[in-house]
Amino acid sequence: MITLDADILYKEPMAIGGAVNTHIIKTDKFKTAVCCVLIRRPLLRETASKNALLPGILRQGCAKYPSIPKINGRMEELFGSVFDCQIVKKGEEQILQFYFEGVSREGNFIKGVEFLKELILNPLIDSGGFKPDVAANAKNHLKNIIKGRMNNKAEYARVNCLAHICENEPFGAYADGYAEDLNDISAEDLYLHYKHILRTSPIELICAGNIDESELTAAVRGWDTTDRQRAIIPLARCFPARPAVKYISEDFNSAQGKLCIGLRSDIPPASGDFFGLLMMNEILGGGPGGKLFTKIRERESLCYYINSTLYWFKSIMLIQAGLASAHFERVVGLVNREIEEIRQECVTRDEWESAQQGLIAKFRSGQDYYSSILDFYAARYLLNDRRSVEDFIRGVEAASLSETAEAARRVEVDTVFMLK
């Protein structure tokens, strides 16, 4: 078990590793406490759909709470606690994540942990498989989710741009599965698969809040069976961009064109050079002080939103904007010009300070949100990176313009995705 105060995430390098996978982040700042269970699988095209079906099945019930109303009735009894089960893609891991959050009173949290344990270990089964009607529901709902990717066009452009960038890497696989796989997966196969992943996956139980360690220890007893063999999941690798930019255009007859420019860098997230990349991303498209916002939105009035996001695990940068399709080429040209400016160290003092302060504020204000605390902690743990939030803040403070320009020279456009 790893126990640490939430403050420590911000002050000291945290303790990582060990064979025991219970993590406690102690804080009494919030009204609620959280328990998050991560069942970690490598993201692979072959198993993506099987894993993706599991949340839809498990969410429908377990032996003790055998239907959606029963599960939600239990959440109501636990003061409107929140439960969710979903697939999360972190780097090249496809994580089956269970989430419980409940107000901290009357033993609510421990009851939540016990609820998750029931849900995970005692699912609804019927003669050696998941219940057929439950599996059929899950397949149908997943098919609709996959078909529904087209409904949110900006998201469609984002997901497809990433898939093109990493077409030959695990990261390019869809973590929510493939419609064409679903018919061939039986309720029995799926249950065997689930038992297999329970036995062989690294499982992390991350709890945060005002938590009593001994109560938690008692509640999770029996989870970590001795015959488990944990697979080792390789760390995602970062690659440079392809030699010639790939352009993809899809016609959706949309009111507004969605542009997604994908850039790659081979600077790994755990390296010291990564601070240059963080600064470069922030100067370019981190907020209203960034070059993209001020030059392309405010000066040229070409779009309402334009920003850039860095995908830490893969050192991929995505620039997204909504604009008139007729202006695609012009905006791609303007974006390239702004990237070139950073490479040439043409960054004003305001741009620099705005980026630096913005990044530091993001790191610091993260401690006000469970989502950020859990994300930061999980990412560090999965990347085997021992740095604290303060280490990151110091790194950002120490970053120089020449390092930032050097990082910008190591980022190249890989794929341009245009949805018209």
Partner: protein, 419 residues
């Protein structure tokens, strides 16, 4: 006035300053982020208003356009000034409110002053108004591509006929072309006076200092006796059905019931509305399970009670292969509950859930500010709502069921698939 809430274990400082502005301050010890929000009681539903017996008709989208333009200053440096103070500034417009807010970690008082300052000093020229039209047009087109937003807008159009609530908050690409600096400034001077505003501050802050800054930096201005457009609207009957086609994989729907029960107090209307929706079709209901197992609804299915000073709507929304059938199910269930099937135990369970969720909302600085901003427009504070969740009775909710959810005041809006 200081209010304490024992369930939440929080304090709320409420002050009406001599300028007329209402201050709500909620200290949150231990939090890093601080937020100040200046809320003006005007929004897209105020397109038409009457002042000094003169009816003023504005272009659709005026309140939202003004929200964009207040960020303008002479040397084009407002964002930069906030950045120097470590502040992150933004705004939003709804039917009834326009809210400007800054989040920061340090320099709260300086950020607050800057927020109050820019909201009171419009720098609006024909040139910068023209420049904004391209940006807002792109914002409108972004919403045009969002199926759920289109379904919701269409629902309002169906429920509120030709009235102010039927219009889009942003206006249309065509309607904003006619907006100029003169119109924006006259709208500004009509609505932006202290007695029509609230200041909400949340975070690890000194309540008295924040109130002092508000007192010193909000100018006194006379109160305008505005008659709001939506008060002048005829009560249009709801049109039962509206649809449009878009490239979506499955139809989307919004089923809305217009509020007609204005005799019930606003706080009770909101709380009972939310509880009843959950009792009818929430995730713990039999109806939810039936519709889910029939593959009529999926995880996108949800419901909410939305309201302003003169309106209220209960909305069920989601994706479905057969929205009409969802409507039939919901109408049948309402009929069934009205015939005495409303369950007291379920009521207690749902009430407990909503109280827990409300308490959870106090984890989040931004959410507290936004909830209080929304409640200010309705003349309420956040503790009143919490107390109502805690003390509402089964009989009150049962009574409300007979006064709301009338089929003749409902509409179904569907976005059909064009692919």
């Amino acid at each position: 006035m200081i209010k304490c809430n024992n369930i939440l274990n929080e304090d709320l400082y409420i002050n009406q300053l001599s300028s007329g502005v209402k201050c709500y301050i909620i200290p949150k010890a231990g939090y890093v982020e601080k937020q100040a929000m200046l809320t003006v009681c005007c929004g897209s539903a105020d397109n038409v208003y009457s002042l000094n017996n003169r009816i003023v008709q504005n272009h659709e989208g005026i309140a939202h356009f003004l929200e964009h333009k207040l960020f303008e200053d002479k040397d084009n440096a407002l964002f930069g000034r906030f950045t120097q103070l470590g502040g992150s500034v933004n705004a939003f417009t709804t039917f009834n409110q326009t809210a400007y807010y800054v989040s920061c970690i340090d320099n709260f008082e300086e950020n607050l002053k800057l927020l109050l300052n820019f909201c009171q000093r419009p720098y609006i020229t024909d040139e910068n108004v023209e420049k904004e039209k391209g940006i807002i047009s792109q914002e409108i087109k972004m919403y045009d591509d969002t199926p759920s937003w289109r379904a919701y807008s269409n629902l309002n159009a169906a429920l509120f006929g030709g009235g102010a609530l039927a219009q889009n908050i942003t206006g249309s690409v065509e309607s904003i072309q006619g907006i100029d600096s003169k119109e924006l400034l006259s709208f500004y001077h009509a609505f932006y006076f202290p007695a029509n505003m609230a200041l909400i501050c949340v975070g690890d802050i000194d309540p008295e200092k924040a109130a002092d800054i508000a007192a010193a930096h909000i100018e006194h201005k006379p109160v305008n006796q505005i008659k709001r457009g939506y008060e002048m609207d005829a009560a249009d009957a709801a049109r039962g059905y509206a649809e449009l086609s878009m490239p979506v994989s499955m139809p989307l729907f919004e089923l809305g019931f217009k509020e007609t029960d204005f005799d019930t107090a606003p706080c009770t209307r909101i709380v009972s509305g939310k509880l009843l929706l959950d009792m009818i079709a929430g995730e713990s209901s039999d109806l939810y399970e039936r519709m889910y197992n029939e593959n009529l609804i999926d995880d996108s299915f949800g419901m909410d009670y939305l309201s302003g000073p003169f309106y209220g709507v209960s909305v069920f929304s989601g994706s479905s292969p057969d929205p009409e059938r969802v409507r039939t199910h919901i109408m049948n269930e309402i009929g069934c509950l009205r015939r005495g099937k409303l369950n007291r135990r379920r009521f207690e369970s749902i009430k407990r859930k909503h109280m827990g969720r409300f308490i959870r909302g106090f984890n989040n600085i931004g959410q507290i500010a936004q909830t209080q901003s929304d409640l200010y427009i309705k003349g309420l504070d956040i503790f009143e709502l919490m107390d109502r969740f805690a003390n509402i009775t089964f009989d009150e909710v049962q009574e409300r069921l007979s006064r709301h959810f009338n089929e003749s005041e409902s509409a179904l809006s569907v976005v059909k698939s064009s692919v």
